[in-house]
Structure formats: structure tokens, C-alpha cells
């Protein structure tokens, strides 16, 4: 057991199971990651510690956390009883963070990658967790200058949570395609819609689409195996794009790129939330959801990385290929009854163009990376909560 693990594994797993058994359905929390930027150059600026110091004693303090590099900050809504409450808090957190950033004299970026700042210039923050990750992952973690959106959804029942997570695997490509916001990285148009996924999800171990687990016992056995074999020293080293959390009674969806636009961020979170609700409903009612093999989901995931919302996706049941936009629209239709019950329906939408598509369109018009990123930063500053 590594120093990161505070509870013995058996106790940790027993506690996680108990929390899930006593958990509450469909509470929700959203985490958003932002780039800290020099306001003049819009390059990444290593100032998280100053931002955190400035937050002390303010409302945002408990909701502001560091994330790997000193040029990144994350804000969290905290547990919300409804999606509407979480959506309102997303706006509040953005406003609170913006106010703090303005006072400090930094700007905020919210796309999946920074278009030009090099990873060599970013400093890893000095916390025990990130020191461990630095030692463990080296180049893999150094390269990970990426920004995402994560959605935690409360699920009652340990077996049920594992089954929901297994079902959610199928839909990760559609969520990623909708969210794609990172075509620009390392001073180039990468040709990808989500370069973040290629840099983070493809490089990290135990990341991306997990295997399907049938129930808690199977999941627990695998986690136990990882600890026993010294593969992990803390459960957060399971970096999968959807995971049953072992500290909180939630299924966490981690596939999405960060969103410059608050409205689109809420819309994306609403889809992740509604999908978890819809999968839980299917499990409760015995509606079959095929757990697609990893290799099949990977085909769609690559399409999402490469072409985002502009491409095509395979219907993994029928083998039919249709536009990704149509696939996302189908998904929205599928979740709609549950989204309506849970107050998330009015947020669900497929934008005319998502962030990656807008950035690529501007690039093809001849705009420079600086102009494109400047517009993104200005756009997210203009429309606050």
C-alpha cells in the first residue's frame, strides 16, 4: 500500500459500498477546469497558489482546488439536490472565479487544451497527491496540460452504480464529440477535435473506456487486485472516463473537454446527468442495455477525438453509420423522458456548431491561434452566470 492510501483497502471498499448502499439517487455535482492566463499574452501563467491565497475567507474558497499544474484552477459546484441547482451554481462558481482572477490580474481560458503554451513551462503544484503522480507517471503527467468537465451523479446501490457505469461506457464517444473543444495545441491546428483526449485519456494508464463490470463484487475484486499488485496506491489512480467513485456515492463522468461557454457547459452536464438517470432507469426496469466490448466503443471514441460533432458514428447495435450529430440527437431523445422528470430537459441541445467546430472554422478563415483563443477568452468573460 502506498502512502496515498489512508484507509486499509478492505476498510475503504467496505466504506465505499456502504456509502453507495445508503446513497441518494440523482444528486449532482459539476467540476470545471480553467486555464490561468497572462491577460496580455494569453499564455498559461503559473499563478494558482496566488489565486488560492486570494480566495481565503471568500465564498469560493472551499470550491476552488488546484489541478496538477499551477496554471490551472478547478471550481466545483458541490453536491446539489437537483440539476437546476447545480446549473445555477455552475454560473455562480464561474462568476466567483472570474472576480478572483480579475482581482489577481489573470484571465481565464476554458477549452480542453491551451493552443500554444508548452508543457515544459508549466509547474506541477506542490501537493502530496501531485508529487506522487509526478514520481509515478513522469512524462505522461508532465504532458497533461488539459482541461475538462466532470459530472458526479448520485446513485443508490453498489451493484446498481457499477451497472450504471458499465452502461455509460457506450455513450462516452457521443459525450466527447459534443464536448470537443481542443483542436488547437502545441502551436498547431492538430486536425483533431479533442486533442485533450489524445494527450490525457490516451496516455494515462487506467484511463478512457473501462471494462464492463457486472456488479460490485467484480469491481471490488479488480480494485483489490490493483492494490495488491502495487499497481495503484490510491483509488483516484483509476482515471477512467466513467468510474464509480470510491469516496462518494456517485458515478463520475470524466470524458468531456472543458467548455468556454457556460450555456454549452450546462447543456453538456445535463446530458451526462440525464444519461446516468436513464441508465439507472433502464436497469431498474429490466430494459436491456448491451455492454459493448471495449474494442467497439473505441471505434466511436476515435471518431469523436478526430472529427467531434462533424463526423460519423457507428450504431454499435445495428452497425449502421450515421452522422454524429444524428447520434447525439438520438441520445437526447432517448434520455428525454428522464431528463424531463429530473428538470434537466430544457438544457439539452445540440449547438449549431460546438466549440471545436467554431475554432476550426475560424482557423480555416485565416484567423491566428492568438485571435481564436482571444475570442474564446473574451466570449467566456462576456457571458457570466
Amino acid at each position: 500500500m502506498g502512502e496515498g492510501q489512508t484507509l486499509p483497502v478492505d476498510e475503504q471498499l467496505a466504506s465505499a459500498r456502504e456509502q453507495l448502499e445508503n446513497g441518494r439517487d440523482f444528486t449532482v455535482a459539476v467540476e470545471e477546469e480553467f486555464a490561468l492566463l497572462d491577460p496580455d499574452t494569453l499564455s498559461l501563467d503559473n499563478r494558482f497558489e496566488e489565486l488560492q491565497a486570494l480566495a481565503v475567507g471568500r465564498e469560493v474558497e472551499p470550491h476552488l482546488v488546484g489541478e496538477l499544474i499551477a496554471s490551472e484552477a478547478e471550481v466545483r459546484t458541490g453536491r446539489s439536490e437537483s440539476f437546476g441547482e447545480a446549473a445555477a451554481k455552475m454560473g455562480e462558481r464561474r462568476e466567483q472565479l472570474s472576480a478572483l482572477a480579475e482581482e489577481l490580474g489573470v484571465s481565464l481560458g476554458a477549452s480542453g487544451t491551451h493552443p500554444w503554451s508548452s508543457w515544459q513551462a508549466q509547474r506541477i503544484i506542490d501537493t502530496p497527491h501531485y508529487r506522487r503522480n509526478d514520481e509515478l507517471l513522469r512524462y505522461v503527467v508532465w504532458r497533461n496540460n488539459t482541461f475538462g468537465q466532470h459530472v458526479h451523479v448520485g446513485i443508490r446501490g453498489a451493484d446498481r452504480a457499477v451497472q450504471v457505469a458499465s452502461a455509460m461506457r457506450n455513450f462516452l464517444p457521443e459525450l466527447l464529440a459534443l464536448s470537443a473543444s481542443s483542436p488547437l495545441v502545441e502551436d498547431v491546428n492538430s486536425g483533431l477535435h479533442s486533442a485533450r483526449t489524445q494527450i490525457f485519456t490516451r496516455m494515462f494508464p487506467r484511463c478512457g473506456v473501462p471494462d464492463a463490470f457486472a456488479d460490485w463484487r467484480e469491481y471490488e475484486e479488480f480494485v483489490r487486485f490493483l492494490y495488491r499488485s502495487g499497481s495503484i496506491s490510491e483509488h483516484t489512480q483509476l482515471w477512467w472516463s466513467v468510474r464509480v467513485h470510491l469516496s462518494f456515492p456517485t458515478v463520475e463522468v470524466r470524458i468531456a473537454d472543458a467548455q468556454p461557454d457556460l450555456g454549452e457547459s450546462r447543456s453538456l452536464a445535463a446530458l451526462a446527468f440525464s444519461l446516468v438517470g436513464r441508465c439507472a432507469r433502464a436497469i431498474d426496469e429490466g430494459e436491456p442495455i448491451a455492454w459493448q466490448p471495449h474494442r467497439m466503443i473505441e471505434e466511436n471514441l476515435w471518431r469523436a477525438i478526430r472529427w467531434g460533432l462533424s463526423g460519423e458514428m457507428i450504431n454499435l447495435q445495428s452497425g449502421e453509420v450515421r452522422s454524429t450529430r444524428a447520434a447525439v440527437e438520438e441520445l437526447i431523445e432517448w434520455v428525454m423522458p428522464v431528463a424531463e422528470e429530473l428538470g434537466a430537459a430544457c438544457f439539452l441541445a445540440v449547438p449549431e456548431q460546438n466549440s471545436a467546430e467554431r475554432q476550426i472554422a475560424r482557423f480555416e478563415e485565416g484567423a491566428s491561434l492568438q485571435e481564436i483563443y482571444g475570442e474564446l477568452v473574451k466570449g467566456s468573460e462576456r457571458v457570466g452566470g
Binding site: 455535482a29 458541490g78 437546476g84 445555477a88 462518494f248 450546462r266 430544457c346 441541445a349
Partner: protein, 127 residues
Amino acid sequence: MADDQKQAPEGISAEQAAEQLKVLQVADLVVQAAGGFISLGFLRLGGEQRDLVQARLAIDSLGALEPVVRDQISAELADELQRARAGMQLAFAEAVNEKTEPAGPTAPAPEAESDAAPPAETPGSDS
């Protein structure tokens, strides 16, 4: 009847209406319609005139109009439309939650003691 006595439905003369049409932009009409959706939508979100089906229609209609007109209007006006739609969405979600019990499709569970979001030092983040 002399031309100058012809009246448009709003009470302005035909000449005045024709003059207005010469300068009227389609974007102006779209913004006007958007304003109507906002006013009516908020009206249907609360009070005696509450009708969530109508409110949802107003939100979705506004969502469809906004991207069409975004490039034709000032950034400030586009932001106002976006803010109004966001306000309606939040009010709608609140209204739905007032109407229905929490916990959604399955049986209500007892209050969990733990938070649904990780505390500051627990990375629930990308890495």
C-alpha cells in the same frame, strides 16, 4: 379613399409602413420575436399563468432563434438573449423540481451524509 387615409393595422399610415419596411431588417423581427418568447416564457414559468409546456416551448424557440441571429446583432444584444435564455432554463428547472419530489424515477432514499463532490484535496479531476 385617398392614399394618405389608408391605415395599417397598427394605426400607422400605409406610407409610414412602407417607409418602415424599407429600413427594417429581418434580424430586427427575429429579435422582436425573441423578446416575445422571453416575456411570455417568464410569464408561463410562475404565478397563475404557469404552464411549463408553454414555457419549455418558449425556451426551445429562443434557443433555435439565437444562433440564427447571433452574427447579425451586437455582441451585447446577443449576450442579453443568452442570459435571458439561461435565466428561463434555471427558472424552469426550479419549477420542475417544485412540482416533483426529488430522487426522480426510483424510490426516495434517505439523506446521505456524504457530499456528492470530492473535497479540496481529493482529486476528482483529470489527473
